[in-house]
């Protein structure tokens, strides 16, 4: 760390000298966020006792840019980690730091970086502060543009695992070729745009198992293509991974493969989209013995609608990397102003359907499994059903002051697979019908009241829930809200809790402060296909964010 800071200072000194020679634009920017919560004892809702009473997560990003050069770091501190996050983040440090030089031909980073090849099926290095997910690579990355329209990436390094580094080394390369840019004299003005890509990633981790000959170098490669013509777009990607025994796949030596195809068309006042995905044994981590969110090299998006309402996200789905086939379709239509249905202000309707199934597999008996494959895929037919979400969302402006959204969603959730990753039937499948009404009344410029009423009917799990919310913005820089989640359908009458939450906040320039008091139910929180369990809690929470 000390050496790195000395290096940074040296680079800064160099830039100061350079400024004498040439005037170059210079800026410093960053952002800070601190979350802290005081936890009350509340054994009734299952909130764990917190001996420290107060837990906090905080971070600050600082970036310096001068011309083509940039450098930055992120300080993080968890004292201790708030409930619901991986407690192994406990500590304080600077896990992210980089120096970068970029011009039209080359882009080189020394230190930490994030990146993605294609859809991320082979490699996606990213962070999500809300989930406390960070799989940044610490090493070197070079991005070169040897020809117009051709981008070549190469990288090597080790991934962050909490405040340490993964034992495995990640090496990767990617080539992306935009044909229209390269052959600009022939294709620049063509309506059809074509982009091709190919990636190769390999990880190295020593084999220390006393019982298995674990491969130390595990490669994963794939190709992709994107064709666009006017409002039509089609994107396809295929990836293959060689034997990669790991904790997640229960140390099987089978190869893995994944395919992803999505197509869309946007016309006058409507759009249509369809996507499909096939995944077999594609968990890919730089530490084969890790699970949860640690040391993930790749990422496979869940083909489901991204809901924002509480009840619609109560049972969220995440891609099952050990095996899944999924599909999603969406149709959006805009009823124009003045039409019979659109009325004076028009109306938006979105129909969405997504399904996910397991693979049709057969387990291998140990005596027939010398290669330690554990299973084989019998056919390309769907296996066990994992999830579905059929929903319709209608948004309409009623008059100058009132607008509303109605959502209906019918969901199916295989808790055994999604939560426990278990192929045996332990829990009943959860079937829900969800209704949401969201109405905003804007009574003057910058002032509004928003009402939400949500209902989720189900006979499984904890039974039905209802949600009521009022959010008041008296001025554009201040808000107050109250939310109540009521588990009125719980089979156990003593557990029909109200989870109320009071929330106030203000925004001034680039600073946002929110203070909340109330209870949070236990649940699973998923963002971008990654989930964490959030235990129940009861207390006061403060969040301060600032950007400069």
């Amino acid at each position: 760390m000390k050496k790195f800071l000395i290096g940074l200072l040296a680079l800064f000194s160099y830039s100061v000298k350079a400024q004498l020679l040439k005037d170059v634009s210079e800026s410093i920017h960053g952002n800070f966020e601190v979350d802290a919560q005081y936890y009350n004892k509340d054994t009734a809702i299952g909130a764990p006792i917190v001996p420290q009473k107060i837990l906090s997560n905080g971070f600050g990003n600082l970036n310096y840019i001068r011309g083509n050069f940039s450098a930055g770091l992120r300080f993080e501190s968890y004292n201790p980690v708030m409930l619901g996050f991986d407690p192994r983040y406990q500590g304080t440090g600077i896990p992210y730091k980089y120096a970068r030089y970029k011009n039209n031909f080359v882009d080189i980073t020394a230190g930490n970086f994030y990146d993605q090849f294609g859809s991320g099926m082979i490699l996606r290095i990213y962070e999500n502060r809300g989930l406390l997910y960070d799989n940044t690579i610490e090493g070197f990355r070079a991005i070169i543009t040897p020809l117009k329209g051709v981008t070549v990436k190469a990288m090597i390094g080790r991934q962050r695992v909490f405040f340490g580094l993964s034992p495995g080394i990640v090496r990767g390369g990617d080539v992306e070729w935009n044909l229209n840019e390269t052959f600009d004299s022939l294709m620049a003005h063509k309506k059809t745009k074509v982009t091709l890509g190919g990636s190769f990633v390999s990880k190295y981790q020593t084999n220390q198992s006393p019982t298995l000959n674990e491969p130390e170098n595990v490669g994963c490669f794939g190709g992709r293509a994107n064709i666009n013509h006017g409002g039509f777009n089609i994107y396809g990607e295929y990836a293959y991974k060689i034997n990669d025994p790991s904790y997640v796949n229960r140390y099987n030596f089978k190869d893995g493969q994944g395919a992803y195809l999505t197509t869309s068309y946007a016309g006058d006042g409507f759009s249509i989209m369809a996507a499909g995905k096939y995944v077999d044994n594609m968990s890919y981590r730089s530490d084969r013995d890790q699970t949860l969110n640690a040391a993930m090299i790749n990422y496979m998006p869940a083909l489901t609608k991204y809901h924002t309402y509480l009840m619609a996200t109560f049972y969220p789905y995440a891609t099952q990397p050990n095996g899944e086939m999924a599909a999603q379709g969406e149709f959006q239509y805009h009823f124009k102003k003045g039409s019979a249905i659109g009325g004076k202000y028009g109306m938006e309707v979105a129909l969405n359907a997504s399904v996910a199934y397991g693979l049709d597999t057969v387990n291998l008996a140990p005596q027939n499994d010398a290669r330690q494959f554990h299973y084989y895929v019998r056919s390309l037919r769907p296996g066990e059903k994992y999830f579905h979400d059929f929903n319709i969302e209608i948004s309409k402006k009623i008059n100058k002051k009132v607008k509303g959204t109605f959502l209906y969603s019918n969901q199916f959730y295989n808790k055994d697979i999604i939560v426990e990753n278990s192929s045996v039937n332990i829990y009943p499948n959860i079937k829900t019908n969800i209704f949401v009404l969201d109405v905003t009344y804007k009574y003057k410029t910058g002032s509004s009241i928003r009402f939400e009423a949500q209902e989720m009917y189900t006979k499984q799990d904890k039974g039905s829930w209802a949600v009521g919310m009022i959010e008041w913005w008296p001025v554009s820089k201040f808000f107050a809200a109250v939310v109540d989640q009521w588990n009125y359908g719980n089979d156990d009458p003593s557990k029909r809790f109200h989870y109320y939450l009071f929330n106030i906040g203000f925004i001034r320039d680039a600073v946002r402060v929110t203070l909340s008091y109330g209870k949070q139910r236990q649940g699973i929180f998923c963002v971008g296909g990654v989930c964490r369990t959030v235990p129940a809690s009861d207390g006061v929470a403060l969040t301060v964010t600032a950007t400069f």
């Binding site: 991986d86 407690p87 192994r88 406990q90 500590g91 039209n104 031909f105 080359v106 070079a142 070169i144 543009t145 040897p146 020809l147 070549v152 190469a154 090597i156 909490f162 405040f163 340490g164 090496r171 990767g172 390369g173 080539v175 190769f200 390999s202 190295y204 220390q208 198992s209 006393p210 019982t211 298995l212 000959n213 674990e214 491969p215 130390e216 170098n217 595990v218 490669g219 060689i242 034997n243 025994p245 790991s246 904790y247 229960r250 140390y251 030596f253 084969r288 013995d289 890790q290 699970t291 949860l292 290669r371 330690q372 426990e420 990753n421 278990s422 192929s423 045996v424 039937n425 332990i426």
Partner: protein, 310 residues
């Protein structure tokens, strides 16, 4: 300004980088299983003390993946025999008795270790191997990591401590007397504590499984039931040791007819305590580094186990 020479240079760089990536080879494995290597516990030197490996399996009856961890523990015992000192720590939300999975295998000492080392909070199943690893979070190991960690200790670690357990047990009064002789084989700096625990093996009851659903007659092995010493141990040395220094600690304990004692664990459904068959019970003793702020604080130097009834 972009020139022809620069273009050539960037082309060369990109070709070299592409080759570098391609050179990172793939290892295709056609024979996944290693041939078993016999473990040589006989060093040819009768005075040589071997270091045992304390494996703590943090588990629970409703943890669907926990039988896999227990199977790994069994296979390590099969591989390394008496060099393994096993404990199953039933703690956290997966260990709280519920209808169907009503066995109460928790204990106050299990809760203390689980909470302090953040085991079930991070995720079950998991464990610690000789409580090695710095910082504290690095002690957390998934069962897939236990084999390599155990093998590393067996092959590389030196025993600085010798433990000798002596027990007497009266089957009528259920009075148990334990004597633990600790011999320091090297001059060590720092503080060292002795922990003495009581375990019960093969408690038959339901267990949730990822592959089999409810296993009705599952053998819950090496269940940590109580502590004879203080939970965090009794002091053997507070500021260093001498070569050959011997410390003897004795404990008198009354083996309960049932475990756990009422009111000592989270038991919302008031599930009944479990009968204790003394023929299945053992003492586990271990010496650990109790030096505050030492990088190896909490690391176990030596461990041993002995059945209370032959």
């Amino acid at each position: 300004m972009r020139t022809f020479d620069m273009m050539n240079m960037y082309k060369k760089i990109s070709i070299i980088l592409t080759f570098m990536v391609a050179l990172a080879s793939c290892d295709y494995v056609s024979a996944p299983l290693k041939s078993s290597q016999p473990i040589n516990n006989n060093t040819g030197n009768s005075n040589k003390v071997l270091k045992n490996v304390l494996i703590e399996d943090y588990t629970g009856s409703t943890c669907v993946n926990c039988p896999s961890a227990a199977a790994e523990l069994d296979s390590l015992i099969a591989m390394y025999g008496s060099r393994i000192v096993p404990i199953s720590v039933n703690a956290g939300s997966f260990a709280i008795p519920v209808p169907t999975y009503s066995l109460n295998l928790q204990s106050a000492v299990s809760d203390a270790y689980d909470g302090f080392f953040n085991m079930s909070n991070t995720g079950n199943p998991c464990g610690m191997i000789n409580r090695k690893g710095t910082p504290l979070s690095a002690k957390y190991l998934l069962w897939g990591q236990w084999g390599a960690a155990t093998q590393s200790i067996i092959q590389n670690d030196t025993a600085f401590v010798q433990l000798a357990l002596t027990t007497t047990f009266d089957t009528t009064s259920r009075a148990l007397n334990v004597s633990v002789n600790t011999t320091f084989l090297s001059a060590l700096t720092g503080a060292y504590n002795l922990v003495v625990l009581f375990t019960q093996d093969s408690i038959i009851g339901p267990q949730k499984s990822i592959t089999l659903g409810e296993i009705v007659n599952y053998a819950h092995r090496f269940v940590l039931r109580d502590n004879l010493s203080a939970i965090w141990g009794d002091v053997l040395a507070s500021s260093g040791t001498n070569i050959g220094q011997v410390v003897t600690k004795t404990y008198s304990y009354n083996v309960g007819a049932t475990y756990p004692a009422a009111g000592t664990t989270t038991n919302p459904g008031n599930q009944p305590a479990i009968a204790c068959n003394f023929k299945k019970c053992s003492i586990v003793a271990f010496v650990y580094n109790a030096t505050t702020s030492s990088p190896s604080q909490y690391e176990v130097l030596q461990s041993a186990t002995k059945k209370i009834y032959p």
